[in-house]
Amino acid sequence: MSKKLLLGDEALAQGAIDAGLSACYAYPGTPSTEIMEYVSQSEIAIQRNIHREWSCNEKVAMEEGLGMSYSGKRAMVCMKHVGMNVAGDGFINSAITGTNGGLIVAAADDPSMHSSQNEQDSRFYAQFAMIPCLEPSNQQEAYDMPQYAFELSEKLQTPILFRLTTRLSHSRADVELAGTANVQNDMHLPENPSRFILLPAIAKKNYQRHCEKQAEFLRLSNESPWNRYEDGPDHKLGILTSSIAYNYVQEAYNGKCPHPVLKISHYPLPDKKLARLMQECDKILVVEEGMPFIETQLLGPLGNAKILGRLSGALPRTGELNPRFVAIACGLPTPDLLSASELMKIRPPRLCKGCPHINSYEALNEAKKQFPDCKVFGDIGCYTLGALPPFNAISTCVDMGASISMAKGAADAGLYPAVAVIGDSTFTHSGMTGVLDAVWENSPITIIIVDNYTTGMTGGQDSLGTGKLEDICKGLGVPADHIKIITPVPANHTENSAVIAKEMAWKGLSVIISRRECIQTLRKKKKK
């Protein structure tokens, strides 16, 4: 046994390694990135040669994880919440095939959207796929649960969704470690291999079996050590809470809550424990991080005045919780707060000094002056900051790869010129497929790939298309004389904007690769 200060993400990674992990698959995304980062630097992962390379997107990662599971070994697939939308196809169907080796799908949600486009709650995905979901409430549980999750996955032949949220993923605490790691599974193929062939005839049987398993999932949830009923003398109120929200309840009452508390960390919701709380308490306060997932299930379509939570107004409907909100919802006194200073000015994030994206946007804005009707479709990455002053350069930012497909759709509608701006890593994640559509129809769009050789926003992870972007574009069928390479430095400003303007004027598909290394990764390399 030893103690170590670990982020929630790192505790999960160490827990999975110690539970006999054979492979981690992931695409970087805040707040999940540090899971894979930890595995890739872990000495034991290196010794054991645990798979620890980044995948090009979450769907690929999910399918790689399922292949590892098919082969009998334990795999973990990690992503941020919106990555679940990308992985969705493989994820939902992995519940129908079932697993062989243990399979954890770790999704890190970002309520309050610190670094995201929405605050979707991954527990809905577990419910949708009808699989168990584990949700640690602290770093120690994040470390302890993977062992349980892998055993559960292998026993029930089902993937397990492991849900984290920002404040657990990115908070450090002292964690007690086992100091030893389980032996990894040997390769062994499924006893009934046909269950991985989702032809309708087989899928129907699998789905029937999956439905029959639900009673067992529920029984285990009722018996789960992670779902804890803590009785209290005052039954005027019962508190139903999950994940880190449990800690805020503990904080509010200084660890001495007078009311019964049901802590949920294992779904489906344990009906027997829930029924007890409902019967014994006059009112129920639901305290959960993320969307009102438990609360809506308790309310049902007809509602119930006994249930308080985010929907009743006891807690804010949106955004992450904090100890103050929870104390107020519990009816406890909180200190008066200072009003914000009148001097206060917001300080939004911005592109780093010397960032190549600055020069790319300056050249693009210059070129746009000749085309007053031009619209620029943006994408997900540091360059999304091109939406802010002084650039005000992009009109949209929706999801990974949407720049190219939206530009093409707008061009279909007659919008001209339609420009897409996308990073190199986002391009290989989900941009390439949109290019193929544009090639098929020779759409008059101009795609600018801002290639900085890295996945910048999440801290500089490998970008799998590095060195291959021209060939990828050529291979997809972009005309070779309309693939241009520019170097975004101030000295090339006039030349670069002329290249962009010329391609915008051409009524066909072109790709401009604006290429210079991210100054953050460059700086890190120089330090080494």
Binding site: R167, S341, L343, R347, L351
Partner: protein, 196 residues
Amino acid sequence: MKSDLVLAGVGGQGILTIAAIIGQAAVSQNIHVKQSEVHGMAQRGGSVVAHLRLSSDPIASDLIAEGTADILLSMEPLEALRHASYLKSDGVLLTNTTPVVNIDSYPEMDKITAELKHFKRTVILDGDAMAQTITGSARAVNMILLGAVSVFLDMPSEIFIEIIKKMFARKGDAIVEANIKAYKAGQSSARAASQG
């Protein structure tokens, strides 16, 4: 022992380095730690904040409730003001004075200083200038502020100095010495300010 610290600054200023050192020191003393950090988009030159909680007893929440922090440590004056609502009424507001002016219409410094002085226990240091004088570079400002905040933490100085030694060992004795000097200067300066 129980201490709740809010650390504020601008992305890239190194509040996580300070938090990590205090966290390590606490763990070595068998003190429980919870430290909530900011990663991702917000790190790029925007305002950032970390919560650091230390206690001899187990800690429940990763976040500090507004109005209850014992200490607000800020690398930057406007950021000190931004997060001041976290402080309890007799909490310590400890801030560096060098502004990071990366926004339009940055408020006038004397107005900011005047507001900061309204707090019951304010320690204002020109950490950048102190680091420049002592080490020849403003980079050691982190160590100045670490030294300053150590005055308000119930932990022996030797532990912090040990961690600084380990942290900079790779860079040679001269750098280690310079950083320890910066740490000690921050410490004496905060001591003088809090007594005065």
